[in-house]
């Protein structure tokens, strides 16, 4: 580790101007910052501050009006649609406020969906998706459709989908916006736990200062400008606290897994029967 830790995302002088008829609305005005590899970064701001726009720009869903966004050393604002698609397959995962699951598909099909685009063979991706769903505690709901699940469960499917391809960066746009407080905490723990376990970078957008406390770095955004960058934990220096919290989450995961193992066993039996 040490000082020369990789800057995974660099945002340089980024501007975004929307044209609404004759009006020009400046959503982002000359924003610059960077996010380190393995960092949990939170973009905190009120609604309309431009934080979601910034996330979309970083994810390559929208094009910046000016400036550069460099992810993994590549300028994504100059990438073609095709290369962007490939880039997303390889490096990016997404969690949305409204889950954005495919309603016609079951949980396991939703989770394996990004792998379909990556041309992962059927058997392998099925197994990956199943493992992932078990990890998020939905081992018993593999064959359920989104409409048959609660919001928290749906978001867990969304998280499983975001992490299944083991991306280096996961973008989360108000992941807990539609959830109650208890589920919010569960979901946040899940995201953070997974990211830390695999040393993944998280970029989360929220308006809730309480959620920001999960982050290593908070970027306060107001009216298209960065107000301040607040570093809660410096990940360049290894800390006991971080390690401790990691262990905690791991233990929690183990607990969950124990519960799930039994469920999974029955699932397996069912499948065997089906095959016969």
């Amino acid at each position: 580790m040490g000082e020369n830790i990789e800057k995974i995302i660099e945002v340089k002088n980024v501007k975004k101007i929307y044209h609404m008829g004759h009006e020009r609305i400046c959503a982002l005005n000359d924003v610059s910052f960077h996010i380190l590899k393995g960092e949990f970064c939170c973009l905190l701001g009120t609604s309309g501050s431009g934080k979601s726009t910034l996330l979309n720009l970083m994810a390559g869903i929208e094009k910046a009006s000016g400036g550069q966004i460099i992810i993994k050393g590549k300028n994504i604002s100059k990438m073609s649609e095709n290369n962007l698609a490939k880039f997303r397959q390889r490096y990016l995962g997404f969690v949305f406020q409204s889950y954005n699951l495919m309603n016609s598909m079951t949980a396991i099909e939703n989770v394996e969906f990004p792998l379909v685009f990556k041309k992962v063979p059927r058997k392998i991706r099925r197994k990956m998706a199943r493992d992932m769903l078990i990890k998020v505690g939905l081992g018993s709901r593999l064959r359920h459709k989104p409409k048959e699940m609660s919001g928290g469960q749906q978001q867990r499917v969304g998280i499983a989908r975001a992490f299944v391809a083991n991306p280096q960066i996961v973008f989360a746009d108000e992941p807990t916006g539609n959830l109650d407080t208890k589920t919010t905490m569960e979901v946040m723990d899940l995201i953070k736990g997974m990211a830390k376990a695999n040393h993944q970078t998280i970029v989360m957008v929220t308006h809730d200062p309480r959620l920001a406390s999960y982050a290593d770095k908070i970027i306060h955004i107001l009216d298209g400008n960065i107000q301040s960058v607040e570093i809660l934990r410096d990940i360049t220096k290894p800390e006991e606290q971080t390690a401790a919290s990691l262990e905690d989450t791991e233990e929690e995961n183990k607990k969950e897994e124990k519960e799930i193992v039994s469920v999974q066993a029955t699932e397996n039996d069912k499948e065997m029967e089906e095959r016969i």
Partner: protein
């Protein structure tokens, strides 16, 4: 995306909206049926037509008549007399593609069998050329040869309709050659009462088999040289005035009949003869214009089918557009998850192509059924719209004929129509912004 995943996903999307897919497929089925059936009717009609015209007349024969009509400058038809002799016959035989030429005399003779009488057309032509003019097969006897030229070829039905005029109602009788005695005399001019009329007994004859071409059934053929001797004998029995006329009629042939080696060359030969200054006729010149009508009919039928196909193409496009509206959110999600735009396009094209394929395949099956019923029940209607007003159609003709290439072509066409109809919606799908798409409900 792997091809197998793409196909699986496409099929799944189609089966999600079963009713809509089914209705679109039905539209495609109707389009395919109409195009296949219409084209098959066109093909069937053309075949029947060509076949029957060819049966009814020999397509390779050209005739030059002594008395012909030409259109004069003021637009009226004018009778002209063309003088034809051996020199012309010789000249025509030199033309390329001419297979056989014969001069012809054409006289009516009176037949007598006891008290019964009848008339018959007697056509005199070069006996060596006879086998080359597409005569019907002989059911009895042989063709005359230069050595044995006294054989007379008689049409299958020429011996029917003998009448005996006594009292008010004439009696009718059919003569059986070989059983009943029959003789003929020339009847053009009254015979000089002082002389004995020339009577020829029909002992040395050959019979044509019944032919589909009515022209062969009622007339008889005789060798030219034999005819000349008979006719000169007949002329000798006439009064001096009539004798002159009779002998003068031998000086010019009444017709020169030409057989061309191939149907394709008939019009060329005809043109050459006309350039020589002779008016001539052939069945081919009528067939040509009728074939044109028939081809046009085929095109009109094809166009009707095409319109139906166009409607089903619009139908497919509509289905795909609806499908895109419904699935806007899914498309957005797919894009964000890293699906290539070309894969999204492929997915939609596959779905629309699949509708085309299913519709085309079913349509193909139903086309055979429809074709069957058209052949069974639609004959009267269809024969009336054929060129020649059904004159050329026989009983039980197949009006709808589906050649092997037609269903395959139609199916391919259906798929192409599907893919093309799906192309614009598919392109639309790729242009949807992922952000906007994900905000929509669905």
């Amino acid at each position: 995306m792997r091809i197998s995943d793409l196909i699986l996903m496409g099929l799944r999307n189609l089966s999600r909206r079963k009713a809509r897919t089914a209705l679109t497929v039905v539209g495609m089925v109707i389009g395919t049926i109409s195009i296949v059936v219409m084209v098959s009717i066109g093909i069937g009609m053309n075949k029947i037509f060509t076949k029957s015209v060819m049966e009814n007349g020999s397509m390779t024969i050209i005739s030059i008549y002594k008395n012909s009509y030409v259109e004069s400058e003021d637009g009226n038809y004018q009778s002209i007399e063309q003088k034809m002799d051996d020199a012309l016959v010789n000249e025509i035989s030199q033309i390329d593609h001419v297979d056989a030429v014969t001069p012809i005399y054409d006289k009516y003779v009176q037949l007598t069998s006891g008290k019964y009488q009848s008339n018959m057309e007697l056509i005199a032509m070069d006996c060596t050329a006879m086998p080359k003019f597409g005569f019907p097969a002989l059911s009895e006897g042989e063709y005359p040869t230069p050595e044995n030229n006294e054989i007379i070829l008689i049409g299958a039905d020429a011996m029917q309709d003998f009448y005996y005029f006594s009292g008010r109602t004439p009696k009718q009788k059919t003569i059986e050659l070989g059983k009943d005695k029959v003789s003929f005399t020339f009847s053009e001019y009254a015979v000089n009462e002082k002389k004995k009329p020339v009577t020829v007994n029909l002992n040395n004859y050959a019979l044509f088999a019944e032919s589909e071409d009515y022209r062969y059934n009622y007339c008889s053929y005789i060798d030219l040289e034999y005819f000349k001797t008979l006719y000169k004998k007949y002329a000798a029995t006439l009064k001096a005035e009539d004798r002159k006329k009779a002998l003068a009629s031998l000086e010019s042939y009444e017709e020169i009949r030409i057989n061309v080696d191939n149907m394709k060359n008939v019009m060329d030969v005809q043109k050459t003869i006309e350039e020589m200054g002779y008016k001539c006729e052939s069945d081919m010149q009528y067939l040509d214009s009728m074939l044109e009508t028939s081809n046009m009919l085929q095109m009109v039928l094809g166009a009707i089918g095409l319109v139906a196909m166009l409607v089903s193409a619009i139908n497919i496009a509509n289905t795909m557009v609806m499908s895109i509206y419904e699935r806007t959110k899914e498309i957005g999600i797919m894009k964000v998850l890293g699906c290539y735009i070309r894969d999204i396009k492929k997915l939609f094209l596959f779905e629309s192509g699949m509708i085309g394929l299913i519709g085309g395949t079913l349509g193909m099956g139903f086309s055979y059924l429809a074709s069957h019923y058209i052949n069974k029940y639609g004959g009267t209607l269809l024969s009336s719209i054929m060129p020649g007003g059904g004159y050329y159609t026989e009983e039980g003709a197949k009006f709808s004929q589906i050649p092997i290439w037609l269903p395959l072509a139609a199916m391919l066409f259906a798929i192409v129509v599907g893919v093309v109809a799906g192309y614009i919606p598919a392109r639309r799908a790729t242009k949807i912004s992922a952000i906007e798409a994900m905000k929509t409900d669905g």
